[in-house]
């Protein structure tokens, strides 16, 4: 018992959302007979991959006290660059993927430089990038979508190896693991917490705050680009309108997971919980055949409850 409760205590900030997640899953398991099946859970894993991959980058950005509004647009740009290079320019597909991710990383770097060099608030810098990246994504094919990718590529998102993991889900899991390890156990990860906790203290401690910031936005851009590649595989097509509004979803997943928008507090564990809450909630409401309008109300209420859980638990004592 002692053991358990100290483990529980060690969860720290993740505790509130985690209670919310468990309660949500229990409720859905009891109210539908389709929710708690291997296949459905695997479906949800597929459904959250794009959000999950973007949320990793966003966690880093929010940890250093920033925000990235451009992820949805960068995702679309990545898809279009990949599709255009492969299908219109005839580049080998693998190379097209690499270039797409590099272009996305470049978008992130530009956002970072706008913040560190031009002194723009992250909100403005990435809002500008959001608009620019979407514009470029649309111009590439004059707004047309691109369809028809090689089978091996779309299979990455479809074929479940050992009837469990598709490659894309595996990629997400591996990235979560890496991010978790880096943020917890690597000096580079710990430094992000310091920068988010106090830029001045971090700087005086010898951390290169500007360089760190540029790296974090670059990574966030690259991950949004990777998410775009995954989405393209999943949809077997690329559209310049993809990812509209994803920035808010992504930020929401991170914040629901307990990472503070003022920086320095939080982590990947919480983000995983946040992504799962959003994923299971949407899936469960569809399984329950709740009408979309009522869904919106339920989603709002559940998000509030999930995050408030911890506050109330503490009050009760």
């Amino acid at each position: 018992m002692k053991r358990l409760s100290s483990w529980y205590a060690s969860l720290g900030a993740v505790r509130g959302p985690l209670i919310g997640l468990v309660a949500l899953c229990l409720a859905l398991s009891l109210s539908t007979d389709t929710f708690f099946t291997t296949r459905n859970v695997l479906n949800v894993m597929d459904q959250i991959t794009v959000l999950g991959v973007m949320a990793i980058g966003m966690t880093l950005v929010i940890l250093i006290g920033g925000i990235d509004l451009s992820v949805g647009s960068v995702l679309a740009l990545s898809m279009m660059v990949m599709g255009y290079l492969a299908n219109e320019m005839g580049l080998p597909f693998g190379l097209a993927i690499v270039v797409a991710i590099l272009v996305s990383a470049l978008c992130g770097l530009v956002s970072g430089l706008m913040i560190t060099e031009a002194g723009l608030p992250p909100f403005i810098a990435t809002l500008a990038m959001m608009s620019v990246a979407r514009g470029i994504a649309s111009i590439i094919t004059d707004g047309q979508q691109i369809v028809g990718f090689p089978d091996w590529f779309t299979d990455l998102a479809i074929t479940r190896h050992f009837s469990v993991l598709s490659v894309t889900v595996a990629v997400m899991v591996v990235l979560f693991a890496i991010a978790w390890i880096v943020l917890r156990y690597r000096a580079a990860g710990r430094n992000l917490y310091a920068v988010g906790g106090s830029v001045e203290v971090a700087r005086l401690a010898g951390i290169k705050v500007q360089r760190t910031t540029n790296w974090v936005y670059t990574l966030c851009g690259a991950l949004a680009g990777l998410a775009g590649v995954i989405l393209a595989a999943r949809l077997d097509s690329a559209q310049p309108s993809s990812g509209l509004g994803y920035e808010l979803d992504t930020i929401a997943a991170v914040v629901i997971g307990g990472t503070s928008l003022s920086g320095g507090v939080g982590g990947i564990g919480g983000t995983i919980v946040g992504v799962l809450i959003i994923g299971f909630l949407r899936n469960g409401l569809n399984l329950l055949r709740v009408s979309p309008f009522v869904q919106q109300i339920v989603i709002g209420v559940v998000i509030a409850l999930a995050v408030a859980g911890d506050t109330w638990r503490r009050r009760m004592r």
């Binding site: 156990y185 690597r186 000096a187 580079a188 005086l204 320095g264």
Partner: protein
């Protein structure tokens, strides 16, 4: 040992508290405190770092809710739910190192929450006039419209004091108001206190500068580990008496014997000039094992010099050499790389990440030693933090947030974080601000040990006794100019003050 209520009049006047207890979660901080404060008296509240002085004051001022106990104010039950209630009842407080609102003007900070109005509109003229007058009386002569964020810590402390004085509170609690001040400013503050005292206002006065107590206090109350352990009806007692009550033993001597400095020059500064005009043409050297003191009135520019040396601020001209090699100083990282560290003056904004744990804060600039291969192992972090906590006697545990430490213990943790780097040059800006006597002696020992171990040490302090007692040589600054360097034997308080006010 509690004091009988005032015998004048029928109704008891002033503040009277009985059986006040406080715990934060499982940690008990106050164990049933009884205390009376009568009109027109100054009660000094003494105690080691973490004894519970700020917590008790916070309870009286409505900022902290007690776990048990009662209070009466002028005979009526008094149980403030929020600071506004206390202020409305005529009880105000200066919080220890509370930050001001950096983006607002001095005047607005002084009057925050009670802006003077005329016909519903803010009366800016009156506000600026009153703020300016109050600040001048305290020795700060800057335009009241200036933004507080542009002021030094000392000036901010004066604004904080002015903010409390304009409250016209019948009882005013001053929690370490002089920690960041120099002697002159302290004198001016005492003048104000004495004037108000004569008009029947009363004060609770908290300070670790015990020599101030005899000058200002009428009575003395001592806390130790959350218990009230002594009450003296006069402050005219030897400092030793208070110290023994606080610490529970006698503290033998304040300043350690200084080792003789070695021959090699470690740090050399030539023609250093600030990029934004705070100082110019500063030059000196520090040898191996030498402690170089920096004295001056507040605002003399000492802090700015140290920040420039450590790469925190840009410089316009000048050279910095460590071990004879010029250091290309573009950022603090370069300075740390070259073996220099700075314990900054502004603890909350520059010293520690308040929401992070002691362990995280201690490891921050030491990851190259805690995690030489880049892997931050929790066991190593914990061991490293325990070592730092032990060395400086920090009252706290590794995973406690720095924010929840008492002010003095925060300072100790910050020093611990930098000592661990074993640098070549160790710069401390106001190292004992808010530190209790016992711990102060311990820190002086640590500083002497650093010198003995061959570091070059710079100590900046507005506490003249401290600079003189601790340094081999003293640099005196005034208005951004280096006025002279006095060797230990010539460095008397008179000589220093002459240069500092020249």
């Amino acid at each position: 040992m509690s004091v009988p209520p005032a015998a004048t009049g029928n109704a008891p006047t002033g503040l009277s508290i009985r059986g006040i207890k406080k715990s934060f979660g499982d940690v008990d901080v106050l164990f049933g405190i009884d205390l009376d404060v009568r009109p027109g008296e100054v009660v000094a509240l003494l105690g080691e770092n973490g004894a519970g002085k700020s917590t008790l004051s916070g309870i009286i001022a409505g900022a902290v809710r007690p776990s048990a106990g009662t209070m009466t104010w002028n005979g009526a039950p008094y149980a403030p739910h929020q600071p506004g209630d206390a202020i409305a009842a005529g009880i105000g407080m200066i919080h220890q190192e509370m930050r001001l609102l950096p983006h607002l003007s001095i005047a607005e900070n002084v009057f925050v929450g009670r802006l003077p109005l005329k016909g519903g509109r803010i009366d800016r003229d009156t506000m600026n006039r009153l703020a300016s007058a109050q600040l001048r009386r305290l020795g700060l002569d800057v335009p009241p419209t200036r933004l507080v964020g542009t002021l030094t810590i000392a000036a901010q402390q004066q604004v904080e004091i002015a903010k409390a004085l304009v409250l016209q509170a019948k009882l005013l609690i001053l929690d370490e108001p002089t920690a960041a001040l120099g002697g002159h400013e302290t004198d001016l503050l005492f003048e104000q206190i004495n004037r108000l005292k004569a008009e029947g206002y009363s004060f609770i006065y908290i300070s670790h500068r015990l020599e101030e107590i005899a000058r200002i206090a009428d009575r003395v109350v001592v806390l130790r580990d959350g218990h009230l352990v002594a009450t003296h009806d006069t402050a005219q007692l030897p400092v030793r008496t208070f110290v023994e009550a606080m610490v529970g033993r006698s503290v033998e001597r304040m300043f350690p014997d200084l080792p003789a400095p070695g021959g090699d020059v470690v740090l050399e500064v030539r023609g250093l000039t600030s990029a934004h005009g705070a100082f110019r043409d500063v030059g000196f050297e520090v040898r191996k094992g030498e402690i170089l003191g920096f004295a001056g009135l507040i605002g003399a520019g000492r802090t700015e010099v140290m920040r420039a040396i450590s790469g925190a601020d840009p410089r316009r001209a000048g050279e910095i050499l460590v071990d004879g090699k010029p250091v290309a100083m573009r950022s603090p990282a370069d300075s740390i790389e070259a073996g220099m560290v700075l314990v900054p003056e502004d603890r909350k904004a520059q010293g520690a990440i308040l929401d992070h744990s002691i362990a995280e804060n201690l490891c921050l600039p030491n990851l190259d030693t805690v995690a030489p291969d880049g892997w931050v192992r929790p066991a190593r972090v914990l061991a490293f933090a325990r070592e730092g906590i032990r060395k400086l006697g920090v009252k706290g545990v590794p995973d406690q947030a720095i924010r929840n430490l008492s002010g003095g213990n925060q300072q100790k943790a910050i020093i611990a974080k930098w000592i661990a780097r074993s640098p070549k040059v160790f710069i401390l800006d106001e190292p004992t601000r808010g530190i209790d006597v016992g711990a102060r002696a311990a820190i002086y020992d640590v500083i002497a040990d650093l010198a003995r171990a061959g570091m070059a040490v710079i100590v900046v302090s507005s506490d003249l006794e401290e600079v003189l007692g601790l340094s081999h040589r003293v640099v005196v600054m005034s208005r951004g100019r280096q006025m002279g360097i006095l060797p230990k034997e010539k460095a008397t308080s008179v000589a220093v003050m002459e240069l500092a006010t020249a």
